[in-house]
Symmetry: C2
Subunit: 417 residues, 2 copies
C-alpha cells in the first residue's frame, strides 16, 4: 500500500516537473517572487503551526540545539523569503546551449543544459529546508519531494501551503513542490525505490540518516557523511596567517561541517607556532588531543594514539599532530580526512599547488579559512547540499548541480556510412 | 566470506587508483602504448584461452550471435590494440584547471578535474570490453574492476594477463586493472556493496542485467536500459532527407541501440512519403507495425493498439504512426521513448529548435541519422557506455565522464567574518 502511495506522489511530481522544465527564466522568477511575498504575508499560520511542532518537540524531550533549529520567528520567515528573492537574481542554468564541435561530416554537436527531473530531499528538523529546497528546485526547473522529519512536519506543511498558491496562479501543478504529510518510515522506504520517477535523493542530516538513505535507496544519493577538515601549517607558512586561519576555522562556529577538526604542523615550525596557539586555545577553552611530541605545549592535552585521529568534534576541541614533512601531512589527510575541505598555509606557491593537486577532497584551499567552504562563499549563490562523493557533483552544490546536459545534434541530412 | 573477498578486491583497486591519479599524461600514454604492443604480441595465449571459452560456449548452447561476440581472431585482437593506441592521442581531461571567479574578498575559486576513483564494469560475453574499459579507465586515471560473464572469463583473463606487465613495468600495482576471476553471483553482489572503495558501476548488457545491477547496487549505477529511438518526419520535412535517414536508421545495422524503432509521420505528408517507404521496406524485408491510418500503405502490416508502442525490435521491424501535429509527435516520444536518441527531419529551423528543446532524451537530433548517436561519432573519441539516466552523465560517456571536478581555492590569509 505504501508502495502505491509512493508511486502516486512520485508520478504526480514527475508530471509537474515536465511543466517546470518548459518554463522560461522570467516565468520561474515571477513564481519565486510571488512565493517570497506569500511567505512574508503568512507569518500567522506558519508561526501557529510551528508552535504545535515546538510543543510536541518539548514534550518529546528534544534537546535545545534541535529546538533552536526547529523554532521559527517572524525574522526567520522573512529570511526564508529573502533567500528566495536572492534566487531570483541568480542566473538560470537551464537552456544554456554551447557548441562542442562541428564534426568533419558537418554535424554540429552542442550540449544543452536541462533539469534533472525530480529531486527528493530527506531531512530532519529544519523547516527552512522546505522553503530553500523548494525554491532552488523550482529555479532549476526540477520537481521536488520534501520528506522532512516528524518534528517539523506542521511547520513544513504550513510553509508549503503558503507557497502553493504562487504555483497554481502560474499554471503549475501543486505537486511541483510536494510535501510528504505522512512521516511513516515505510513510505520513505517506498519513495526511495521510485527509480522511474525520482532522479536524485539528497539527505541532509546526521551520518546515521545518510547511511540509512544510502543503504535503502535505489535512486542515486548525494552523500555527505561528515566534515573532518584539516589545516596543514607548512614549514614555509606565514605563521600569522596560519594562526588567524586556525582560530577562524576552529572557534568562529563549531557545529558546522566546515569547521577545523585537525591541525597538522610541520615539525620545523612547531616550536615557534604552537606556544602562541596554546595560549589562544587556553583563553578560548579549546580542548586539545595531541601526539606525544605536541601534547607538552598544551595544558591538559589528551594524548592521541596512532589510530585515534579522524574525529568530527563539532565543538571547541581539536586534534593536533606534528608531521615530519609535506608528504606526512598529505598521508595523514588521505587516511583521516573526510573529502570535505582541506587547507594548507604556505608562502611557497609550488607547495600550495602540490597540495591542491594531491589532496583528494571536494574543496582544497591554500591560505584561506575552511569556513569559506560553502556554496555562498564559493560563488554558487545558494546551496542545496554538499557532496563528498564524486559522482555528478563534488563539494557544495548550487543550481547547476541540479541540472544535467543533453546532446543536441544538427545536420543537413547526413547518414552513417 | 564473499564480502571479505569483495572488500579485498575493491580496497586493492582503490589503493592502485591513488597511484593512477597522480600519473602524468605522458606516463599514462606510455603505459597504454606498451599495453597495445603487448596485446599484438600475445595472439597465441589470448586465442588459446578464447578457444576454451568458445568450446564451453558451444557446449552450453550459446546462440550464434553470442558466439560471434565471444570469438576473438588475430584481427580482433589487433583492433583492440589499435583502439588503445587511439586513446593515446586523445586529450587527458585529468588535471585541467579552470578559473570560476575571483570573489570580492580576493579568494580565487577554480575547479580542477580529477579521476572518479574506481569504476566497476559488469558485462556479459564481450571479451573486448576488458581491453577497452581497462584502457579508458587508465587514461582517465581510474582503477577498474572488470567483472565479465562466465562465458568470456578465460579470454578476459588472458587479455588482462597480456596487459599487466605494462602496469608493473611503470610502477603501477596490477590491481589497477582487476579482472574478477570468480564469476560467482554472491561475489558480484558483495562487490556492489563496496561503497567506500568503488565510485561507479557501469553495467553493459541486456535490460535484465542492468535492472539486476540497479536493484542490488549501493553504488551509483549508470543506467542504459534500451534504445527505442524515433524519427519524426515533420510536415515541412525534406522528404528525400527523411527517407535516407529512415533507411539508414532502420536498416544499416539493426541490433544496435541507436537503430530506429519508431517512425512518426505528420499526417500532411503521409500520402507523399509512405508509399516510397513501403516500397523500400518491402525490398529490404522490413516488418511494419502501424496504426489504422497507416497500415494500408504496407503489405502485411500488423495493426498497433494505442498502448502497444515502445518496443525495441533490434531487427528489421518498425512501428509507424501518423501524428496530427508536432505536439502529437513530442507526446508520443515522451510516452514511448527511452531517453536515448530522438530525431526530427524538418526544413523549418524553429521547429527543429523546438524539438531539440522539448524532447527529453540524451541525444536529440535534427536532420541527421540516429546511427550517429555514439561516443565516436559525437566527438568523444571513445565510449565507455551510454547513460539514459541523468545523474552525472546523460548520453554517450567518454573520458571526461569518467572524471569529476574538485574546488580549488587560493587566498592570501582570508578568514570569514
Amino acid at each position: 500500500m505504501m508502495m502505491a502511495k509512493a508511486k502516486e506522489y512520485a508520478a504526480a511530481c514527475a508530471k509537474a516537473a515536465k511543466v517546470l522544465a518548459r518554463l522560461t527564466t522570467a516565468q520561474k522568477n515571477a513564481v519565486l517572487s510571488d512565493m517570497a511575498n506569500a511567505l512574508r504575508q503568512s507569518h500567522g499560520p506558519i508561526l501557529k503551526a510551528n508552535e504545535t511542532d515546538m510543543a510536541n518537540g518539548r514534550d518529546k524531550g528534544l534537546d535545545n540545539a534541535m529546538l533552536d533549529r526547529l523554532q521559527l520567528t517572524p525574522a526567520r520567515i522573512d529570511a526564508m523569503a529573502d533567500a528566495i528573492d536572492f534566487l531570483v537574481g541568480l542566473p538560470d542554468p537551464v537552456g544554456e546551449r554551447r557548441l562542442v564541435e562541428t564534426r568533419p561530416n558537418g554535424l554540429k554537436i552542442e550540449k544543452m543544459r536541462i533539469p534533472l527531473g525530480v529531486v527528493c530531499m530527506i531531512y530532519e528538523a529544519r523547516p527552512n529546508v522546505t522553503a530553500d529546497a523548494g525554491a532552488l528546485c523550482l529555479k532549476s526547473g526540477n520537481g521536488v519531494i520534501l520528506r522532512g522529519g516528524r518534528e517539523a512536519l506542521q511547520s513544513s506543511l504550513a510553509i508549503a501551503e503558503a507557497m502553493r498558491p504562487a504555483l497554481i496562479a502560474h499554471g503549475i501543478p501543486g505537486a511541483a513542490i510536494t510535501v510528504i504529510d505522512d512521516p511513516d518510515r515505510e513510505l520513505l522506504l517506498a519513495l526511495l525505490k521510485q527509480i522511474d520517477d525520482i532522479d536524485l535523493v539528497i539527505p541532509r542530516g546526521g551520518e546515521g540518516l545518510i547511511r540509512f538513505v544510502t543503504e535503502q535507496s535505489r535512486i542515486p544519493v548525494i552523500q555527505h557523511f561528515k566534515g573532518v577538515c584539516h589545516l596543514y601549517v607548512d614549514k614555509e607558512a606565514d605563521l600569522d596567517k596560519a594562526f588567524n586561519i586556525l582560530m577562524n576555522g576552529k572557534t568562529q562556529r563549531t557545529g558546522v561541517c566546515n569547521a577545523l577538526e585537525g591541525l597538522l604542523v610541520h615539525q620545523d615550525v612547531a616550536e615557534t607556532f604552537l606556544p602562541k596557539v596554546a595560549k589562544a586555545f587556553g583563553e578560548k577553552g579549546v580542548k586539545v588531543h595531541a601526539d606525544s611530541a605536541t601534547a607538552g605545549y598544551f595544558a591538559g592535552a589528551e594524548l592521541m594514539g596512532e589510530d585515534d585521529y579522524g574525529q568530527e568534534y563539532l565543538a571547541l576541541e581539536i586534534a593536533i599532530r606534528q608531521v615530519p614533512d609535506f608528504d606526512g601531512a598529505v598521508a595523514h589527510i588521505e587516511r583521516f580526512g573526510s573529502q570535505h575541505t582541506e587547507v594548507i598555509v604556505t608562502e611557497n606557491n609550488d607547495t600550495a599547488t602540490a597540495f591542491q593537486q594531491q589532496v583528494d577532497s571536494a574543496v582544497v584551499m591554500a591560505n584561506a579559512s575552511s569556513r569559506f567552504s560553502d556554496g555562498g562563499e564559493l560563488g554558487l549563490g545558494a546551496e542545496i547540499g554538499i557532496s563528498t562523493s564524486k559522482l555528478h557533483a563534488y563539494g557544495p552544490m548550487g543550481l547547476e548541480a541540479l541540472t544535467t546536459e543533453k546532446f543536441v545534434v544538427t545536420g543537413a541530412g547526413q547518414v552513417r556510412e
